[in-house]
Symmetry: C2
Subunit: 470 residues, 2 copies
C-alpha cells in the first residue's frame, strides 16, 4: 500500500546523460539503472517513473525509455505490468533481511527503568500533534530557543508548581532531552566553575554517576538509611544528587526532618542539591509528597522528565534552576546544539495544556498501583521469608535477599533464563553498602506476564537457596 504511493523521478535517480559520448543514450540509461539496482541504490518494489515522465524529465523520446525498460525487464531487473507503474524486481541490497538490533535475549523485562509503553495514549497524543500543528506559528517550526519553547516552559512551570509544589517560574524552567541530559549539562557547568565533587547516595543509579563523571565530576558517596540520605556523611562536596520522592534503588522516601537537615547542609556548605524527581507522580497510597525544591529554591535544581511518566521515546525533560545558575546553564545548553525537537515540544505543550497529561497520569496511577498490589501479594505468598521493601510508589519494588552476592547470583541466573532484572549491588559504590536485594520493575509488563516472570524468578531463587542450604 505504501510502496504504491512512492514515485521516483529522474532527478531522484541521479540519471545523467552525456550526449557527447559515443554510446547511445539508451545504452547509457540502461547501464546507469542496472548499476543502481545492482548497487542497492534502488531496492525491490520501488516504483520507477512512467515512460512518459522519465522521457520528459530527461528530454529524450518516449521510445528510448520504452527500449530501456524493455531491456531491463528482459534481464529480470524490473517488472512491467499493463496499467501499473514499473517496479524494481530484486537484485539489489535487500536491506530488509538484515537482522534487527538485539534486545539482549530478554524475554521478561523486569528492569526498573521501564514504564508501560504499551499504554502510550496514541489517540490523545495524535490529537495534540494535530492541534499543535494547526496552531503553530511559522517561527515555531524554525530554529527554536535552545532553552525550550516558551509556551511549553509556561505549561511545565504551571504543571510542576500545581502537582509537585515546585517554585517554578517559566523563565527559570528549561527544556532538555531528559534527566541524564540535564545532569550532564549541570556536571559540566559546575566543573567549569571549579565545583568538581558531586555526591551521590549509596546506592544510587549507576548510569547517573557515569554521566556525572563524564561531565568532569569526581563522584563521592553519601550514606542512606530508612529515612533517606544522611547529609552528615558527605565528605566535602559542592553538590549532591538525591531522589527524595522515591530513592533509587532502595525505594525509601526522604523523611521530613531529613529534608530540613539536607537544606541546612546545602546552605552551610554553600552546596547545590540536584533533586531527581523521577516517577514522583506515581504514589498509590494517598497524596504524594511535594518536591524538596520548594524548601530552598536557591539551593535546589529540580530535574524531571517524561521518560517514566509518558514514553522514553519522546526524549523530553526539564529542569528548574536557581536564578544564580541561569546564565551559565543557558549558555551551556545553547553551545550544546542539541535542542529538543520543536515539533514534540509543541505537541507536549498542547498535551499538558488541555489536561491530557493529567488524565494519562491518573490512569497510569491506577494501572501501576494495581500491579504493585498484585506483585507484592504474589511475592508474600510465594516467598514468605523475603521482605518486600520500598514505598507504594514509582515503578519498582525491592525484594530483600540475604546478601549482595546471593542477589547478584540470582540476577545472573535469572538473566540466563531471559529475565531482565537489576540488583542493589549493581548500583552500589564499590563497598556494596546497605541491605541486599533484587530490584524488580513492574512498569513494563501486564499482570499475566508479570505472574509468569515472577513464577520463573521464584524458581530461580528457591533452587539457589536449596543448593546453598543443602
Amino acid at each position: 500500500v505504501l510502496e504504491s504511493q512512492r514515485k521516483i523521478q529522474a532527478r531522484d535517480l541521479l540519471l545523467q546523460l552525456d550526449r557527447s559520448r559515443r554510446a547511445p543514450v539508451s545504452r547509457q540509461l540502461e547501464e546507469q539503472m542496472r548499476g543502481a539496482i545492482r548497487s542497492g541504490a534502488l531496492v525491490a518494489d520501488e516504483q520507477l517513473p512512467s515512460t512518459r515522465v522519465l522521457a520528459e524529465d530527461l528530454g529524450v523520446s518516449r521510445g528510448v525509455i520504452l527500449r530501456v525498460y524493455g531491456q531491463l525487464a528482459a534481464e529480470g531487473y524490473i517488472c512491467l505490468r499493463q496499467g501499473a507503474a514499473p517496479t524494481v524486481r530484486a537484485g539489489g541490497l535487500d536491506t530488509r533481511t538484515l537482522p534487527p538490533r538485539n534486545g539482549g535475549g530478554i524475554v521478561y523485562d523486569l528492569r526498573p527503568h521501564l514504564p508501560d509503553v504499551a499504554s502510550f495514549p496514541r489517540q490523545p497524543w495524535l490529537r495534540a500533534v494535530r492541534e499543535s500543528l494547526a496552531h503553530a506559528r511559522v517561527a515555531d517550526l524554525g530554529y527554536s530557543d535552545p532553552a525550550g519553547l516558551w509556551d511549553l516552559r509556561v505549561a511545565v512551570a504551571n504543571y510542576l508548581s500545581r502537582t509537585r509544589g515546585v517554585t517554578a517560574h517559566p523563565a527559570q524552567t528549561l527544556i532538555t532531552a531528559g534527566s541524564t541530559h540535564s545532569l550532564s549539562l549541570l556536571s559540566r557547568v559546575l566543573a567549569r566553575r571549579g565545583d568538581r565533587r558531586m555526591a551521590f547516595e549509596n546506592p544510587s543509579h549507576r548510569i547517573l554517576r557515569a554521566v556525572a563523571s563524564m561531565g568532569g565530576q569526581t563522584v563521592v558517596r553519601a550514606a542512606i538509611d530508612e529515612s533517606g540520605v544522611r547529609p552528615d556523611t558527605i565528605d566535602q562536596a559542592e553538590s549532591l544528587v538525591v531522589s527524595p520522592a522515591h530513592q533509587f534503588p532502595t525505594g525509601v522516601v526522604l523523611a521530613p526532618q531529613r529534608r530540613t537537615a539536607l537544606v541546612d547542609w546545602a546552605q552551610q556548605a554553600e552546596a547545590l542539591i540536584l533533586e531527581d524527581d523521577y516517577s514522583a507522580e506515581f504514589r498509590y497510597d494517598g497524596v504524594p509528597t511535594g518536591a524538596l525544591q520548594s524548601l530552598a529554591p536557591d539551593h535546589v535544581v529540580y530535574l524531571g522528565s517524561t521518560g517514566k511518566t509518558f514514553a522514553p521515546a519522546l526524549r523530553l525533560g526539564w529542569m528548574v534552576l536557581p536564578e544564580a545558575l541561569m546564565d551559565e546553564v543557558s549558555r551551556e545548553l545553547a553551545c550544546n546544539m542539541l535542542h529538543v525537537s520543536g515539533l514534540d515540544q509543541l505537541a507536549f505543550a498542547r498535551f499538558l495544556q488541555c489536561g491530557d497529561f493529567d488524565r494519562h497520569l491518573r490512569r497510569m496511577r491506577q494501572v501501576y498501583g494495581a500491579r504493585r498490589s498484585f506483585i507484592t501479594g504474589l511475592l508474600a505468598e510465594l516467598l514468605p521469608g523475603h521482605e518486600v521493601r520500598g514505598i507504594a510508589g514509582g515503578l519498582h519494588i525491592v525484594l530483600g535477599m540475604p546478601s549482595h552476592s546471593t542477589a547478584a547470583s540470582v540476577r545472573l541466573e535469572a538473566q540466563a533464563l531471559g529475565i531482565g532484572i537489576d540488583s542493589i549491588d549493581q548500583h552500589s559504590f564499590a563497598d556494596s553498602a546497605g541491605p541486599a536485594g533484587l530490584v524488580i520493575g513492574y512498569g513494563a509488563l501486564p499482570e499475566p506476564t508479570l505472574e509468569q516472570a515472577l513464577g520463573k524468578l521464584v524458581e530461580v531463587i528457591r533452587r539457589y537457596e536449596e543448593m546453598h542450604q543443602g
Copy 2:
C-alpha cells in the same frame, strides 16, 4: 476551549490535611488553596474539582468543600457559577504576560540558514505521524537504539543512495540531531584518538568551526578558488570539512578534477573528509551533482540533515560512516545520551517511505528556484555594478562587494534597519581571504517580502556608495 478540558483533582493540587492539627479541616483547606493561588501554583482560568469530587478525594463531607469554596469566592480568589466548574479568578503569577523571547529585532530575515518553514507540509506530516503511531511496535516507544531506529536507518540509506549516489549501508548510517551534532561527535572521537587538526575551507561556516573547537579540534585552514577547495594548501590535518555540492558561503561547486585531487589527498595523508551535504537536494539548473562520498567511502564521512530541506524544528539528521569509524562513533553516540526523539524518527521514516519527502523536495525546488530567479533578476536590475555569485542551488546567493570592510559596514547598517543578513567576512578566518560579498538567503521569505527587503537593502548599499564616492 482548551481550558475547559482541564480538570484538576485534589492529588494534583497537593492538598494535605493534617487531622491531628487543632485547625479545622476547612480552615486548612482554605489556607492551602489560597496559598496556591497567591503563589501562582494555580493560575487564572484553571478549573477546580467539583465539590463532590474534591470531597471524595479528600475523604471529607461535601459541606466542608462548599464552605471553603464559598469563602474563597467571597475573597475574590475563585469564581463560582451555577452549573459550571469553579475556576481560579486571578491573583497568581500570570505567566502569560511575560515577554516572549526576542528575535533580535529582525523584520526581514535574509540570513542564509533559513528554509521556508511556512511551506512545512503540515497535512502530509500529520498523516505520517498518524500512520507511524498506528503501526509502531511497543518497543519503538521505549528506550531506542542510540544509533537510531532501524527502519529509519534503512529508509535514509535508501534515500541517500538513490538521490545522492551515496554508498550507504543502513548499518553504517546513524541518526543524529543534525549536522552540528554529527560534527561535534566526530570532533570528539577524532580528538580522542589523537587526530586533533581539522581543516576548514576559508571562508566556511563559523558555527561549524566553533563546534569543532569545542570538540577538541585545532581548526586549520584550506584555501578555495572558483573550483572549490585546494587540497594542496592544507598544512597538515587529519581531517577536512567540505561542502562540495554548494560551498558555504561562496556558493561554488567542487569541480570534478578537484574531487579526484581531494580523494588523492585523503588517501595519501590518511585523512578523513567530512562531507557536509547541506541543502544539496536543491539544484535548479538540472540534475544535481552526486555526493563526493561515493568516490571513496572509506575516506569520507557523509553528513546530512533535515534542517534546510524540511524544518529546523525537527532536529533530525544523519551520517554515513566508513566502517573503520563505526565502533568509536557508535559508542560516543551511546554515551552522549541525547537520542533523537523516537516519535519523530518513526514519523520521518514513514514520511520517507511513502514518498512524501520526495514530493516535498520537488515542490520546494520549484519554490526556491523561482525565488532565486526573482532575486537575481531584481539585483541585476537594481545594482548592475554588483556581481551575483554562486551556482543555481541551495538557499542563498552572494552579492559581490568591493571590499570586506564595505560588506561588513553594509551588513551592520542593514541590521540596524531590521534586515538580518550575513557577509563573507563573518565566515572567514582572521585574514578575510577571497572575494568580498554579502550572503543573501532567500529561503525564508516569499517574493513580495523579498522584494521589500531587497529594496531596503539596495537603498543601504547605494547610500553607502554615494557617501564613499563623494
